[in-house]
Symmetry: C2
Subunit: 297 residues, 2 copies
């Protein structure tokens, strides 16, 4: 593993605007596995040191996304004590096992959400969540959807492609039409980048507005995600990524300060239920977080 | 006045995405005045007939915008009874008088808003309202602003240019960041395209989301406009313009129906006060509408 390939992986994760937090966390793990297997260093101690360094850099690359921290923490717990000679195999196997656990948890969460919502409902969502896509895969053309452009960069277009191919009748709206269209939905359903320690939901900016509109219109607001998204931190202490305002062509003018904060915080009182691999929780309990459900070894 | 010039004026009003409802209503009146004065027809009865036809077509061009209906109604009331020979002068003079009344009303409304808000406050707004711009002109660099891109088409960039030149320290955000940034504002202030007969506010899509976030954060939500914006219609019976979804590059895919509704409805219970030329009303009263304040003749 060269310095170059490490840099490329960190940059790829940092600059990705298409994948949700779960998918990026799994990409981190598969990167760790791949680099472990393909590293050309012959010195086992060197390899271990450079992999641990890469793991820490990946954790810092997307500070708003708890699953990256959590899954790499879990990986580190599993491999840190390995003797250098065992490390290479252990590190790769463990990363792949964790990818499997994460996918399994997300699939179970999606199944619980599909059961809860049931067929013939109109689901409004915001941004692109791989777990929400799984819910639509389970419901198929029995569901209807209202989806948002989700700028910047507009990952709602990718969701539109997926729903189109699933045969889900879908209304596609620009973000600011959410307030108007929520009245046509039976349920609001979103994924999450992070669930803070009080149950508040950190997700793509605009999610908070959708939750407010859902409450106003009397429809439930569900968040569905694997519990690797649960953070031990308070929402206020989780940094919200602030990206380049050129992504939405903000003006450059005297006295004008453009912002491009990618995430917002939906407070706990706006969440009707948290849906994870363990089921549906109408009251938030941090105990449903990954630390209890996926403790291994 | 040729058929061509009539068509051009109607198209110009219908396709305009930069001006608010007040400015467009005044453009309609100045178009009526100009065409009256420059019409090359020598037959007074023909002229009157074609002008009345133009007036009705302009009224239908932007069905969501009450001031276009109201000001042209007022113009029609003032000129319909004119004898053909008096019509040319009367029609132009009356249109210009109404433009003056509308500008005067908007200026008075802005002055009441500036008095109410006072200096050293951070004002969050959405879309581009000429009346809100007047409020910032009155407060100058003593105000701070948080403004939105306001897509499509993004008229918030024009507002950024105005505030930049006024020296107002301004945060510029994309629409979906409203929920996050409202916590940094002292007051939410918007203009309106129409105030429905129950006091609900029809304005650029996203206004409803701002009002929800303002209530959630405990800051006042003010609407400031001349009372020519007051409609006698219920909000539900006012058509909300639905424009070409290509304006925001919506995808063209099977099963996907894109929408581009320009306006939403902020219900009356989310409005803290209505600010018109007559002052600040904390409870909605349709009597403050233009019919009582600008009755002439």
């Amino acid at each position: 593993m060269t310095v170059d390939t490490i840099e490329r992986l960190v940059e790829k994760i940092r600059d990705d605007r298409e994948h949700g937090a779960s998918e990026l966390a799994r990409l981190c793990l598969s990167g760790l596995a791949e680099h472990t297997r393909t590293a050309d260093t012959q010195d086992a101690a060197d390899l271990k040191e450079s992999l641990l360094e890469l793991a820490h850099r990946l954790q810092q690359s997307r500070p708003t996304m708890a699953p990256i921290t959590n899954l790499i923490d879990r990986w580190l717990q599993g491999v840190s004590d390995s003797k250098p000679d065992d490390f290479r195999k252990r590190a790769a196997d463990h990363a792949e096992a964790l990818i499997g656990q994460s996918k399994d948890a997300a699939a179970k969460a999606a199944a619980h959400a599909a059961d809860l919502i049931g067929p013939n409902k109109t689901i409004i969502t915001h941004s692109l969540s791989s777990t929400v896509v799984s819910v639509f895969e389970l419901l198929g053309s029995r569901a209807k959807a209202i989806i948002t452009e989700s700028r910047p960069p507009g990952e709602g277009r990718l969701l539109a492609e997926k729903l189109s191919s699933l045969g889900v009748a879908t209304d596609f709206i620009s973000d600011q039409q959410m307030g108007l269209f929520v009245q046509h939905a039976d349920v609001a359903l979103v994924g999450a980048d992070t669930i803070a320690n009080d149950g508040s939901v950190i997700n793509k900016a605009g999610t908070y507005l959708l939750a407010l509109a859902a409450r106003e219109r009397g429809i439930p607001f569900y968040v569905c995600c694997e519990s690797f998204k649960y953070s031990q931190l308070a929402a206020a202490s989780i940094p919200l990524e602030d990206h380049d305002p050129r992504e939405f062509a903000a003006p450059k003018l005297p006295n004008i300060t453009p912002h491009n904060v990618y995430f917002d915080i939906t407070p706990v009182h706006l969440v009707t239920a948290w849906i994870t691999e363990t089921g549906v929780q109408g009251e938030f309990s941090p105990k449903t977080g990954y630390s209890d459900n996926y403790r291994e070894e």
